[in-house]
């Protein structure tokens, strides 16, 4: 009798678990409120729950646009291309940005190439955002992370041959794009290839004001080969090549001649539905970025000195992740990962009079990391779910060349080689208040090792505060204690999710002025060195609302706010003001009318003196679009969309936009996608 109850309970728990794993961590823009806590997903071409119009329109958006409408994410803009994501006021080394769990690091010393610029929606199944450490983390960052999950070929798909072909045009920057994805699928193997080409001229801010040097051109091609070895074992091979050319950065003093990335991975997955060991995913990967800045297109009077600034970034590594079902109530994740990243950035300057000059700006730094993550999901009872775990990282940093080591002697007496141990622990709980409502909250403590730029950077120019930055091998690890609390309620026609967070830092890393140093960059205000300030505090929250007053009408509102102060109570830089994205979608006879309001409050919480930031005024924009999904024979369909962005041609820029360059004015968009 006893055993019977147990087995019943077990079945229930298993069902519960499956439900949770299957559904509850899914976040998509059309389905915001399925109990998402600190983990959100933007599904682009997901196989599960695929919403056809959605998939087609998401595929045509830029990665930047998809990220910008996600709660908690704000983008740093330097041009019309390669925007850099920040999560709740944290950026760069503070967050983990990975592609399918793989580490990859931008090669540009001026942060022109966040790794999100090397992938396109055509490559992606979904974008996964976490705001706290979790079981999937592959680095001990302190502020969660973004993972770009690559689209995999689907075995045994309904159609042997399927795909999408799309084209889009935007008037503002004469922006064209064409894309395609093709899949060939059999029971034993499947191949997916995808490609996209995008090209834009200079865009125009409000009143048709041309923003010079904002053009770009790029192509991206990806392939995935999936082979089923047997029921339980699969091999997957990924390759992505992304090449951008002649990319303008109006906010910076230089543009980019080319930016190329080569991303490759071999993955083995083992899945079992019955054993304790539910699955193992093992991946080995290699990626390489080749990046070259270019100032030759700029008018000669604006270029005090011609420079060549190439950089490379090379990363290889592996991870292996096992999921263990320990009894009916525990799902444990064990992950070990290791990677090595080599950065090289150099600068050759050509003065009008005198000899050319050469220097390394990232003097051949190397980072090797090995880490272990242990996490457990515990279904305490039908109401309480707990997720907790930790990670430990062993980091080795070094400079690998003689000239690099020599360069370091310019500002540091000690050895380049150093080791650091960092780690984090986290716990998140969900409490089901009723069928409709649940509360969630948690705490985490994290540390991160400084990035190679923060350790060894050599006169890295920051356009925001107009200072050259030096690395600091003696810098301490940044630490943070993070707490979050949220409530989500979901009713038939109405759903709300609210979350607040506080992130208290110790040894927050920022730049501090070195008064006696003279700047290298012509026109800069001086030299700063990466250093720790004793403390900093980030707080804020997100609010998401969704309301379906009638079946045909959907209203949605996504709101984010962050507030950050340093140890003196002064305001931190790169902190977005309150931002709100509100959409109304109305369905009429298959036509989907969509109105979107994007607005932000003014940001007056700036510390110009210390961080060089100015204030930013508020703005409000209105975007309109009409979509129609034409179902053709069999599974064929055409998705069409026309829209107007910034319909009132409002002049505006966002707070994280470098140099306050005006954003795009009115823009007409037309896109069609053929699905087969």
């Amino acid at each position: 009798m006893r055993s019977l109850i147990n087995s019943n309970e077990m079945k229930k728990s298993l069902l519960f678990l499956t439900l949770i794993l299957g559904n509850s961590f899914v976040f998509s823009q059309d389905d915001t409120l399925t109990a998402s806590q600190n983990y959100k997903e933007i599904v682009i071409q997901g196989q599960k729950k695929q919403n056809k119009d959605n998939a087609s329109s998401q595929l045509q958006e830029s990665t930047d646009k998809l990220l910008s409408t996600t709660p908690g994410i704000t983008l740093i803009k330097r041009g019309n291309f390669a925007l850099e994501p920040t999560i709740r006021g944290l950026s760069a080394g503070q967050i983990n940005t990975t592609i399918d769990g793989m580490q990859m690091f931008g090669a540009c010393t001026d942060r022109m190439d966040p790794i999100s610029s090397y992938i396109e929606p055509t490559n992606l199944e979904k974008i996964q955002l976490s705001t706290t450490p979790d079981e999937n983390q592959t680095g001990s960052a302190i502020g969660g992370g973004i993972n770009f999950a690559l689209m995999k070929a689907q075995l045994d798909a309904p159609n042997k041959f399927s795909g999408k072909l799309g084209a889009g045009y935007q008037t503002n920057a004469n922006n064209i794009q064409t894309l395609g994805t093709f899949q060939y699928s059999t029971k034993r193997w499947a191949l997916l290839v995808n490609g996209i080409y995008r090209k834009a001229d200079n865009y125009h801010a409000a009143n048709r004001q041309e923003v010079l040097f904002s053009q770009f051109e790029k192509w991206n091609a990806g392939a995935n080969l999936m082979i089923a070895l047997n029921e339980k074992n699969r091999i997957s091979l990924d390759y992505i090549q992304d090449e951008g050319y002649d990319i303008g950065y109006p906010a910076l003093t230089m543009d980019v001649g080319f930016a190329k990335a080569y991303i490759s991975a071999l993955t083995h997955t083992y899945e079992s539905k019955t054993k304790v060991l539910r699955g193992i995913e093992t991946k080995v990967f290699f990626n390489f970025i080749d990046h070259a800045m270019d100032d030759t297109k700029r008018p000669a009077e604006l270029v005090p000195m011609h420079m060549d600034m190439p950089g490379t970034s090379r990363t290889f590594g592996m991870f292996s992740k096992a999921r263990l079902l320990l009894g009916p109530k525990h799902l444990m994740t064990l992950q070990v990962n290791a990677f090595q990243n080599d950065l090289h950035a150099e600068m050759t300057m050509y003065p009008d009079v005198g000899s050319e000059m050469f220097m390394l700006t990232v003097p051949d730094g190397q980072r090797r990391t090995i880490g272990l993550t242990v996490a457990d999901k515990w279904m305490v009872n039908t109401k309480v779910k707990l997720s907790y775990g930790g990670r430990i990282d062993y980091n080795l940093s070094d400079i690998t060349t003689e000239i690099g080591t020599q360069t370091l002697t310019s500002f540091y007496n000690g050895e380049a080689f150093q080791t650091r141990v960092t780690g984090n622990v986290f716990a998140q709980a969900t409490y089901k208040l009723s069928h409709h409502a649940e509360m969630f909250g948690g705490a985490s403590y994290g540390q991160r090792a400084p990035s190679l730029q923060e350790l060894y950077g050599f006169y890295l120019f920051n356009r925001v505060d107009n200072y050259d930055y030096l690395g600091n091998p003696d810098i301490l690890n940044e630490e943070s204690i993070n707490g979050n609390l949220g409530l989500s309620m979901k009713y038939e026609k109405f759903a709300i999710s609210v979350e607040v967070f506080a992130n208290s830092f110790k040894n927050y890393i920022t730049g501090l002025v070195l008064p006696s140093y003279s700047n290298m960059t012509i026109g800069a205000d001086g030299v700063k060195q990466f250093d720790n300030i004793s403390s900093a505090l980030l707080t804020g929250g997100e609010l998401t609302l969704k309301w379906n007053p009638i079946v045909k009408l959907t209203l949605q509102s996504v709101n984010s706010y962050t507030y950050g102060i340093d140890e003196d109570g002064g305001y931190l830089p790169y902190i977005p003001p309150f931002k709100s994205v509100n959409t109304v979608v109305y369905n009429l006879k298959g036509y989907k009318f969509r109105a979107e309001h994007v607005g932000a409050f003014a940001q007056n919480n700036v510390n110009t003196e210390r961080y060089g930031e100015g204030t930013t005024p508020a703005f409000n924009l209105l975007n309109l679009a009409v979509q129609k999904h034409f179902q053709l024979k069999n599974t064929k369909a055409i998705h069409a969309e026309v829209g107007v962005e910034n319909i009132f041609d409002t002049p505006y820029y966002e707070h994280l936009d470098v140099m306050k360059i005006q954003r795009q004015g009115v823009n007409f968009v037309i896109r069609t996608t053929f699905v087969f």
């Binding site: 000195m305 050319e356 220097m359 002697t409």
Partner: protein, 268 residues
Amino acid sequence: MKKIFILSLIGAFVFASCKKDKDQDENPITGGTAPVSEYTLVKSDTTANDLVVELFAKTTTIEIGYTKLYVKVKDFSGTAVENAAVTFMPMMDMGSMQHSSPLEQPAFNASSKLYEGMVVFTMHSGQGDWTLTVNVNGDDVVFPVNVLDSKAGTKYVGSYSGTNGEKYVITLVKPFNWTVGMNDVSIMVHKKATMTSFPAVDNLTVVMDPQMTSMGHGSPNNLSPTSIGNGYYKGKVNYTMTGDWRLNFDLIEAGSTIVSAAYIDILF
């Protein structure tokens, strides 16, 4: 079979050892053990008392600035003379006037069997004619010396008038092997006492400020050279990049700046 192998190994080893021994034989040019390639014969002449005097340098050509010079004295049978009294007297003939330059008198080095001295060539041969008079045991041998200018964009020696009425010669000490980052740097300071006497000056405080002139920036963490005796001042210079660097010097004597805006230009 194994034995043969070992034997041949030993043989090879012995053979290699013999070869090495041969390399260490006395150098036919210098009479010392230093390798041939280290020195280049500049000129050779004979004194009145039948000694052969050979002048060597480390480079095939002689460049303006700090120049180590080596003298070999042999008798007619070719045997190195080890106890000769050897002195230098460089002279620049500019037509209208003649002057000498800072120097270090030669001293015998037993291992190279050379008399090693140093002359600061303050001008190049385009500005007049250099001669180096080598006096060996009271007899003069006069060698004309062709001094080339240093490569464009460099300046390894300079003369400056002090506020105290004295003239100072600031010389960059060679050899140097510049790299990006921290480098040892040495300069010499001499005073022009007469046209033929340039004593070394040791009592100065030197302030050095490297500047990248084409970009208008300096570099941090430099150590201004301090006196180490015999006119030498040793410090550290930080080159944050390759290219044209100007090392600016102020010479301070007893608290007052006697020479300012002196400079050495380097390029690498």
